[in-house]
């Protein structure tokens, strides 16, 4: 098989009260906000009308907003819905919501399991939310690794694109981790990085090849 080069045409990072799009700081909040306020403020600033956002759990809100920003000025509409893949990795799965759900069942005298919470105890629901919003019907994969794993990410995505399973791919790392020591701490760790990867550089503007080194640099915000 001939190895083809695939390109990153857009990338978005959300972490530490800041949002970065294609290497530029979109905004950063000087006064530390708690996660809830931060993600809602960032969402509202985009003037997106999508009430379902407020029903999502913390992980889905993070992945959803990163994807909204990522695709804002992309040419994704040129692709057929079933040609678009979504591949996301993380470390803590849906453990934040798992703990919230467990609170609803642990006390038998105060037992209130709820299906709209339970459904978010699956990390791939984040992919579902992104696909529903955009109508994407292509390849889907949610993988867990201890840390951000550029090897697994590039291998999986390049395989899809080079074997014509997909024509383009939204791929990256979306991690939301509750502080373990203090179960209800206000200081969770969140770290989201998504790329839009295409088989070839259509615009001629983006020159970032989708490879391990570049992915590492972009993730570390060093590009």
């Amino acid at each position: 098989m001939m190895i083809e080069n695939n390109f990153i045409s857009n990338y978005c990072l959300i972490r530490n009260n800041s949002v970065f799009l294609n290497g530029e700081t979109l905004y950063t909040f000087e006064n530390p906000l708690n996660y809830n306020d931060f993600i809602k403020t960032a969402f509202k600033s985009q003037q997106i009308t999508y009430p379902k956002f407020y029903k999502m759990d913390n992980l889905c809100k993070l992945g959803f907003l990163t994807n909204e920003l990522l695709l804002k000025n992309s040419n994704i509409r040129e692709y057929e819905k079933n040609e678009i893949a979504v591949i996301i990795l993380n470390s803590s799965s849906s453990l934040d919501t798992d703990m919230n759900y467990y609170e609803t069942i642990k006390d038998k005298s105060n037992y209130y399991p709820n299906p709209s919470l339970f459904v978010y105890t699956l990390p791939n629901i984040m992919l579902g939310e992104i696909c529903i919003r955009n109508g994407f019907k292509g390849e889907n994969m949610l993988l867990i690794s201890q840390k951000f794993n550029p090897v697994l990410l590039t291998t999986t995505v390049n395989d899809l694109l080079n074997n014509n399973k997909s024509k383009c791919c939204i791929a990256g790392w979306v991690e939301y981790k509750r502080n373990w020591e203090k179960t209800f701490s206000q200081n969770p760790f969140y770290d989201s990085f998504l790329c839009f990867i295409e088989k070839k550089d259509k615009t001629g503007k983006m020159k970032i090849e989708f490879n391990i080194e570049n992915i590492n640099n972009l993730y570390n915000n060093k590009a």
């Binding site: 798992d98 037992y111 299906p115 992919l127 529903i132 889907n140 867990i144 291998t155």
Partner: protein
Amino acid sequence: MVDVYIASDNIISSLGITSTENFQNCKNGKSGIVLTDDKKLSQTPLYASLINWNIINEMFGKIADNALFTRLERIFILSITDALKQTNIRVSDNNTLLLLSTTKGNIELLEQNGNIHIDKDRLHLWKTADIIQKYFQLSNEPFVVSHACVSGLNAIILASRLIKSKCYENVIVSGGDVLTEFIISGFQSFKAISPRPCKPFDIAREGITLGEGCGTVVLTSNQTLLKDKNKIKILGGGTSNDANHISGPSRTGDGLFYAIDSALKEAAISDKNEIGFISAHGTATSFNDEMESKALKIAGLTKIPVNSLKGFFGHTLGAAGIIESIISIYELKNNILIPTIGYENHGVTENISVIAKVSEKKLQTCLKTASGFGGCNAAVLYSK
């Protein structure tokens, strides 16, 4: 071009501790679903397919200390041990990867009365994989697929792609979930659990029956590792999303169709009659089974015999795709079609050909599908 084969396999479920034992029970029409009133699982009596933990703990006690491993870790280790026993792959080689599939992993560690010897860090799915990797002294960092009810098939698809792109020669794919109050209460809150053993594709179906288990397949590109004269090959696979609803399947079946179509194209199957049978997801919820019938109609597969194995094993979540793939592979090897336990009267719109009785048929190729929460779908084609 690299071909991907299944070198060995194992199933641990309510129906036994080896693939052969599980297949034999399916062939004899024996279901693993029982009525339980275990209050640790559910406040009300429940039909479920449960592992005999006395047998598991006794077996596991011979190789390691039960107290140091969770229930899920024990069945992962026992299942992988049995699968590896049947092959000559050297697990310490750096060309072998461990890929786990699970929906909720060690979620029972959330319960305060859990095992005091076990760190809650093992709630992390990667940590579970790390424990299994260390036990087998594998050299590569393992990964986990956690993708609701398609986890098992997605893991087989990913493993097969990693072998085809020559990242690894062998991948040990093991999928497991154990039943806990966490999982059961969630499905109960959805009112998705059947008050009787589940009845896939039947007019009187009332929902799912949950199950627990573990399935392992060792995938390889190295033909010298294959012992069986019937070499089982993975012809292709695909995944998709419905883009419709996070907790309900598509009303049209187009999402599942895309996954099936992707698998068929990769396998270069143009004559659909080459497919001897389909092992569907068939959870026995009203919407799922209806959606599947529509997807099979779009794919032009309504004449192909189709079964659901949920009446034997229940819905084993992260293990389902692997356990059901293994039974399908044994159907191929033995030229036998396993029936859909619980199916009596046709209850889906499209006239799909549900297998109602054990029968013999010369088989070459089969299709396995799955669908789940988040609108996810997956399909894999196997041949001998």
